[in-house]
Symmetry: C2
Subunit: 135 residues, 2 copies
DNA sequence: GAGTGTTGGTCTCAAAAAGAGACTAACACT
DNA sequence: AGTGTTAGTCTCTTTTTGAGACCAACACTC
């Protein structure tokens, strides 16, 4: 091994990380589910007020009913939102955020705010990267 | 329309939301890229110290080389990490977090902490949901 | 009373993304 | 000469996602 110079330092931190339990990692378990393409968007909407299925579909025009159903069910399963069926005809269904969901959305909204504030920087970085790619 | 009772209130907030520009939404543009299955995990590692390609692969045993390459390139493109090639033989490549990456990781780490703290609640919610599903 | 619209989904099929694993070149060490 | 290392790419299969048809039951219109 010739490259020890770059790999040898910080053995202790390395051990620290290999202690990550990849199979039962809370972070992966939780994040994998809220990191879907639509999850954040739906949490963002339901953080404002409850919405009905059809309202959400109209609010996010490019989501398919299939993914809307599935993402809402996943969010409900993990306890972030509640689903209530009203026995009207045709039945209407309302989704609303739970306390757990609101508690998650608090730190999550900070990341969303970061995205708004730093959007220009990210786009600039992308342009630099794409420009240097053509070389 | 018979269901006006449920849909009529809060017209102003509704307008607020339909003002979301779905096509050029900063939140979607930024979040869609860091919300991949592996992005958060890699940012978490590189927040600690720089790592080389092979180190990251060993650190996250269940990532394929293909997805590791691709996710690292995406994170680099958006300006969160830097890639440096050392002209050793065989060449070694080091990935390190940029200032922009660190600034993103600050709020992001709060969500990660939330995940650790509330993991039990989420698992409990899942079990309740799955139990009520069999009905 | 036939036609149209509304509700919240499910079902099927096509397209896109992700995972598994073989393969590469150039050198070090045995 | 044979094995191991590096950071990838390439191909093939499996999984995930998207597009759209379809559903039942009722309200309203003509």
């Amino acid at each position: 091994m010739v490259l020890n110079k770059t790999t040898s330092p910080l053995k202790s931190e390395e051990l620290d990380i290999s202690a990550w339990d990849m199979d039962n990692c809370p972070v992966r378990d939780v994040i994998d589910r809220i990191s879907g393409k639509w999850s954040t968007l739906l949490l963002e909407a339901l953080a404002i007020r409850p919405y009905r299925f059809g309202e959400l579909r109209r609010l996010i025009p490019d989501i398919s009913q299939r993914m809307l159903t599935q993402t809402l069910r996943d969010l409900q399963r993990d306890g972030y939102i509640e689903r209530e069926v009203f026995p009207t005809k045709p039945p209407s269904v309302e989704y609303r955020m739970t306390d757990l969901g609101r508690s998650l959305f608090e730190p999550l909204s900070k990341v969303l705010q970061w995205a708004v504030v730093n959007h220009a920087d990210v786009k600039a970085a992308r342009e630099r990267f794409d420009a240097s790619e053509l070389a």
